[in-house]
Amino acid sequence: MHTILGVPLAFIWPQLLLGLINGAFYAMLSMGLAIIFGMLNIINFLHGAFYMLGAFCTWMALQYLGIGFWPSLVLVPLTVAVAGLVLERALIRHVYDIDPLYGLLLTFGLALVIEGVFRNFFGSAGRPYAIPAALSGATNLGFMVLPMYRAWALGISVAVCIGTWLIIERTKLGAYLRAATERPDIVLTFGINVRRLVTLTYALGVGLAALAGTLAAPIYQVSPQMGSGLLVTVFAVVVIGGMGSIGGSILAGLALGVVEGLTKVFYGAFSNTVIFVIMAMVILARPAQLFSGGTHAAAAGTGSDTGSDRVAPVLWWALAALGLAAPFAVYPFLLIKALCIALFACSFNLLVGYVGLMSFGHAAFFGMAAYVTAHLVKAWGMPPELAILAGMTVAGVLGTAFGWLAIRRQGLYFAMITLALAQTVYFFALQAKFTHGEDGIQGVPRGHLLGMIDLGNNMTMYYFVYAVFVAAFFLIYRIIHSPFGLVLKATRDNEARAVSLGYRVDRFKLMAFALSSLLAGLAGSLKALTFQLATLSDIDFQASGAVVLLTLVGGMGTVLGPVVGAFVVVAMEHYLAGLGSWVSVIQGAIFTACVLAFRRGIVGQIGVWLQRRRNLRNAAEGATMKPFVGS
């Protein structure tokens, strides 16, 4: 029997086929992302949800309506495309004229809602879908047994990819699309209804994702979370293939699917991460300019430094006193949790609010630090203060490495890259021995601080965390208002200008990223000690999304925003706990509402009100003074 590197060919062929099928799905999804990005200037985080919807609707159609695979193959993509069309018309179009990162956040929120709803009704368990009778069975090709359905699914997927490519590159409609991607205004002056074109493009992209989902139903288990994991991989594919060309998406998708499939044969543990590693290499090797399709330098920060920056000292003292008294009124454990999350959010806000870098992978630092601290305390018996420092160090090193890679891209690409890199850390945590996989590290002793103070008591733990939090918060406050912080803000507001003033912007960004990851690590370490637990839910991309959520709710780019956001969200989780898993749906909905109507967040909005009142008062004073000044 023939072998390659000691692996029999008979094992390789099926993996190659599965790799190709996966690659074709990647291609269909990244192609859809690319055309949607071209027309809407939005990274469609909903894409994974639409893929899942495609699979789920196929399953439901059979289960509840008795509609088989073949009608579903046509009906499901159409239905889901219509759903996408409605979402686009009703919600997504409202964010076209603002920073594209809000499009990412909006679709992220909507994806949370859709996934959450399905999890509530159907649970997380996968559901099998039978292969259609006409395609069951397999053919023996001599060198391998070819399952009919898989061969057919691959053929259809590739045909659809080529068909889409032909439509876009060779037809009049495609020419309109390509032209509108470059200059929608000019295409509009040709008498073409560009808004309709945008909606149709979105529906087309969504339909492709749903079709991939329908095709995937008989191959994979149908489950509510099948889309979100896939989407992160597709983001990496998009970063590698660039979003400028449809052909590039198809080739990159297929090639990466094959690479992934072959990695599974030769070094299985690496197969989840190989695409992300390739992405990192591509980022290093290719200068950013080669990516066509607009990398946006625009910052995510709302830049609303109003109000909160000029908080009266008396308010600070009041807040500090409130913090000291709080555990006598509220369950201390809840307060510690909120403080840890608040610190995590502050670290994220330092980056997004003051440097304009939207990291969608901050949970990697938070979660990794939690694991390291938990492991050191539990397995090595290290004292808590050293374990916290070790956790921070690991997070800081990791952050420096990620930052070094990610700052080479801006805006949406930055967000996708941080998300993809964080996913590699997630897979590491899933597979490494010391993290104990799905179980996590449990029963971590809190130990004695400096060998003296027993942290086992929640009250003591609270004051320890509170002291650390105040120190970290003060540090962040100082950073923001230092000359270093001013350079960061200048970079956020106008990077080109900062560069032309002679600042080495990349170095500043990297330092900010490292600092931010260090503080995120501190939050993670504290959290691990408090909960005596480090699990995958600290490190998965939902955790990264959650920190974005609560910072947005509180107010991005305001000093107090993340803190307020953290307390609001933690309180909500606590008091709504009776609603069970609906909480994530509610959070997604709040998130969506924030992006659409309330982008300044709570603190930002209060700042605006205060500013307005101040202006009114000034105006009133100005009016009374007028007789003296005038004439």
Binding site: Y176, R178, A179, D185, V187, L188, T189
Partner: protein, 239 residues
């Protein structure tokens, strides 16, 4: 008497105001263009000439006043609807689509009304384009881009052409060619509103001129006035 009577104007603009964000860019513009006329908007950089064209075609969203095209009010319409009334716009940056070939660029604007030029007629006007049909839109020289940008809006059946500085940054010999094209288009009955900073070019090919200054029209001149008051007018155009 050079002032056009609004009654027989094909394009008639009254009290046009336009805004970009907080800035009030056009502050009450009045002018009109008769059927078959070539009219220029002269003025220095930042005077508001381009904004006038963009307001007429509907690309400036915040605009008030009256813009009538052949009697029909367009102030509340979007650009695609305005285009269907027979207007076509050629921006100063030419906006050739780099993802499209020359042929695709040329054939992209749909034919909205009868009476447009055929491809053969366009090639006759711009022989250079015919040799570059398969090139990418980003591989053209400045002159070729300008020819393509004008050529592609001639097929659509539009009768009013809004041309923004078609001579900007081009060699004198190319400017000459563009001028010849303008003459031919005029003979064919096109109505042309031209933004220009090139004084000599404007006086050679246009019938009337409006001077734009700080978002207002300060003067209307015919060719004879323009030559007679050359020195006085020049101060409006140079910094």
């Amino acid at each position: 008497m050079p002032e056009a009577n609004p009654g027989d104007a094909l394009l008639d603009v009254r009290d046009l105001h336009a805004y970009y964000g907080a800035s009030h860019v056009l502050q009450g513009i009045d002018f009109s263009v008769r059927r078959g006329e070539v009219v220029t908007l002269l003025g220095r950089n930042g005077a508001g000439k381009t904004t006038i064209l963009r307001s007429v075609i509907g690309l400036v969203r915040r605009r008030t006043g009256t813009i009538r095209v052949d009697g029909a009010e367009t102030i509340g319409l979007t650009a695609d609807r305005i285009a269907r009334l027979g207007l076509a716009y050629c921006p100063d940056e030419r906006a050739i689509f780099s993802n499209l070939t020359v042929a695709e660029n040329l054939e992209l604007p749909p034919v909205l009304r009868p009476g447009g030029l055929s491809l053969a007629e366009i090639y006759e006007l711009f022989p250079n384009l015919k040799e570059r049909l398969r090139s990418g839109g980003n591989r053209l020289s400045g002159g070729e881009q300008q020819m393509l940008a004008i050529g592609r809006i001639l097929r659509t059946g539009a009768t009013i052409l809004l041309l923004d500085e078609p001579t900007e940054g081009l060699a004198p010999i190319i400017i000459e060619e563009i001028g010849a094209v303008l003459d031919k288009l005029k003979q064919r009955g096109f109505t042309i509103l031209l933004v220009e900073q090139n004084f000599a070019f404007a006086s050679r090919y246009a019938d009337r001129h409006y001077i734009v200054e700080d978002g207002r029209i300060v003067e209307m001149l015919n060719n004879a006035d323009l030559l007679r008051d050359f020195d006085r007018i020049k101060k409006f155009l140079s910094v």
